[in-house]
Amino acid sequence: MTEVAQRQELEPAVPLAALFTAFLAVSLCGVGGGGGIVWARRIAVEKRRWISDREFADIVSLCQFVPGPNIVGIAVCVGAKMRGAIGTIAALCGFLVIPWAIGLSLGLLCLEYAHLRVLGNILGGIAATAAGLLIATGIRLLLPHRRRPAALLFAGLAFALITFGRLPLLVVLFGLVPVSIAVAGVEAARAR
């Protein structure tokens, strides 16, 4: 924190407009889900040099800990780091407002014609593919935990309760997460 404070004293504050345009670019570059974080890093770390690689990794690590889309969290945190609350609002507005307006118009236009056979078929193909991408993301992020039987058990339970049990997210999360954390705690205590 002090390091950042000193640096901000030495350098002029990042203009709010720059935060806005940077996260506008991040938003428009990330398509198909998942690509957003790569673009956020490229722009905030490599191109604008606002934060270091380590600070970026730290922000990503924080965002994975909080509910919500990680990429939105990165906009919030980078904005807050550069300019405080007003910086967060500038980064968020850049990330959301214009892409939302364009996306909503394009999307509704597209959905208007979804009854046309060709378009319906295309959307069906995309939905099936995008579902596969989600499954792959889940499997990939679960792989580092594959040597912990408890991790696989809780992942399997969460999967089954949602897919076959059709239970609400709230029930599954609050039913499984405390037990899963307790088991992880016991494992950590034994390992010590």
Binding site: G32, G33, F95, A114, A188
Partner: protein
């Protein structure tokens, strides 16, 4: 079109699930599908899958866009705006608060344990999100094969998801699914 309390029910539900959306977009999909298609019957499985397909192929904040499409379907433009706020408002508030407190718990030992417990459950939920969407979009065994192929390609190659999505769109467009 629907009962007057529908927009309020939807907005409140979205605000609730977005507040617990660990892992982001995919984990809330089954819950929102149950609410919108099952409980209230505001749209069919097919329509819900279409919203998903459109949101995933447009650049920008897909989760917020998808929920805005749902809001639009229930209550037009005000519904779209309300759904967008309900989807990003609670997480943004939490991100900001967490950022302010992060220095205090960044290196706490319990943080690692909470992560070890949380991540597997969330990843189970992400896989469930994909599976539920595959079933909502299901048009037969060929669609299932496409889902499995897309997952396999993503796991075994470094191909950009954009190309995989384009291939899926082409297969669908040529009427092969």
């Amino acid at each position: 079109m629907t009962e007057p309390s529908a927009p309020i029910a939807l907005t409140a539900h979205l605000a609730l699930v977005s507040s617990i959306s660990f892992g982001g977009f995919p984990t809330v999909l089954p819950d929102v599908r149950n609410f919108v298609v099952g409980t209230h019957g505001w749209m069919t499985n097919q329509e819900f899958a279409n919203l998903f397909a459109v949101a995933q192929s447009i650049p920008g904040p897909n989760m917020i866009l998808m929920m805005s499409f749902v809001g639009w379907k229930v209550w037009g433009f005000p519904g779209a705006v309300a759904s967008a706020f309900a989807t990003f408002g609670p997480p943004c508030t939490m991100y900001f608060a967490a950022y302010r407190l992060w220095d205090r718990f960044r290196n706490a030992p319990w943080q690692r344990i909470v992560r070890l417990g949380l991540v597997p459950v969330v990843m189970g939920l992400v896989i469930a999100g994909g599976t539920v969407m595959a079933r909502a979009a299901d048009t037969g065994w060929r669609a299932v094969a496409v889902t499995i192929a897309a997952a396999t390609i993503t796991l075994t190659t470094r191909l950009s998801p954009m190309w995989t999505l384009l291939a899926g769109a082409a297969l669908g467009g040529f009427g092969l699914l």
